[in-house]
Amino acid sequence: MLQKIYDWIDDRIDITPIWRDIADHEVPEHVNPAHHFSAFVYCFGGLTFFVVVIQILSGMFLTMYYVPDIENAWKSVYYLQTEVAHGQIVRGMHHWGASVTVVMLLLHTLRVFFQGVYKKPRELNWMVGVLIFFIILGLGFTGYLLPWDNKAFFATQVGLDIAQQVPFIGEQLKTLLAGDPEIIGAQTLTRFFAIHVFFLPGALFALLAAHFILIRKQGISGPL
């Protein structure tokens, strides 16, 4: 039965090569912790992706309750935190997931750096990876404002003040992020929400796809 379904789909869209590309490859001995325990350092990248998936899923559930509006943002988070069944856990996963993503990403970056894996022919993938790092930091910065509590508001104020001090484009940069040259308010919150939920995740997915396609194309680097 399953084989028939597979054949039916395969007849139409020729799925076998795609399947071979995604799943059919050998894992070399030197990256397999089952053979060399020290190879656990190769887990950091995969674990980063795992936490990113947790972030995407928990974030999707958070938007079911969250209201990006200065009157209700804090109240909706407070309600989620105190009244909604398991809301505290879902928000906790998203909150701690942000920190764990940064830690895992840092460990992965250090592993790749100290092994010198960014050298030819993997320069492009290293740069894609550093861009992913920037995107993740951007997600952390924009997500910090969304609960609209005091620490969120004042940290964002400091962040935007710093942006304003950039020469030549400072004012415009601040206005672009905050929606107003002076006020940090309703516009800022909706902009940060849009950036956090649509713009940066969109960029992140594109970069992650590039990251994985490049790994698949080039294969894992050899042992040191």
């Binding site: 139409r12 399947w19 059919d24 050998e26 397999n32 010198g116 620490k151």
Partner: protein
């Protein structure tokens, strides 16, 4: 792969009509003790992922995500603090060479150099050797950058009393109470207490909120007459009956707020 003339397609698509057998690639010549990704290695990855997930969930259960009081842009006394992974940048801006007239140094030059070098590492470190000891400059710069980030984060974090900070900024549950202005106690409250404690009992600059008070009825009566802390005595002056009405009013508002 068959290309060009003589190819047969499914309908008008570009999918080849010729069936290819679904046989995995041959890895017999691949060096070392390799393992198939699917399903052998993926199963192990899932096991690692499951252990990781359990640890992660324990963390979220043991430490609920913090939430402070609702943003109050007028709160001039609040000391801002970014999330921990931005603390090093925040701390950097406190140094003289990276603040005031040299702020460009702190917000653009130093972070730009560090992150720019990270982005362009493959073009700065072009030698053929991959081992750390074959590229001392690159590794040295990374160690220096890493040490500075750790040091700055430590400097910034150790200056903060995290527990006191969390305690101070606890969110106050929003009391959505109807104040019954017909209550005989309200008139007495209006005379004696409202100036400091506000017309909805929510407190003000000089006095705390009376909603959510942990004092008992007797203690409230005592405080109204004798004061407590910064509150002077003899705020209430009236008969015992009026005192009882006042206390009943405050207690009833508290009961409604719960």
């Amino acid at each position: 792969m068959h290309k060009g003339k003589g190819m047969k397609f499914v309908g008008d698509s570009r999918i080849s009509a010729e069936k290819k057998p679904n046989i995995p690639k041959d890895y017999s010549e691949y060096p070392g003790r390799t393992e198939a990704f699917w399903p052998n290695f993926l199963l192990k990855e899932w096991l690692v992922g499951a252990v990781f997930l359990v640890g992660f969930l324990c963390l979220t259960l043991a430490h609920p995500a913090p939430l402070e009081g609702m943003a109050d842009p007028g709160d001039a006394a609040y000391i801002p603090l970014p999330d921990w992974y931005f603390l090093f940048l925040y701390e950097l801006l406190k140094y003289n060479f990276a603040s005031g007239p040299y702020i460009i140094m702190g917000i653009l030059v130093l972070p730009g150099l560090a992150f720019g070098a990270l982005l362009l590492a493959p073009f700065l470190d072009k030698g053929p050797g991959r081992r750390p000891q074959q590229r001392p400059v690159a590794v040295g710069m990374m160690m220096l950058g890493l040490a500075s980030v750790i040091w700055l984060t430590y400097e910034s974090a150790s200056a903060v009393d995290w527990e006191a900070r969390a305690e101070e900024n606890k969110p106050v549950a929003e009391a959505d109470v109807e104040i019954d202005e017909e209550d005989p106690g309200f008139a007495i409250y209006e005379n004696s207490c409202m100036q400091c404690h506000g017309d909805d009992l929510s407190g003000g600059a000089a006095a705390p909120s009376l909603i959510g008070t942990e004092h008992t009825a007797d203690e409230i009566a005592d405080i109204a007459q004798n004061g407590i802390g910064d509150m002077p005595p003899d705020q209430f002056s009236g008969s015992d009956e009026e005192l009882e009405q006042l206390v009943d009013f405050i207690v009833s508002v508290n009961e409604e707020a719960e």
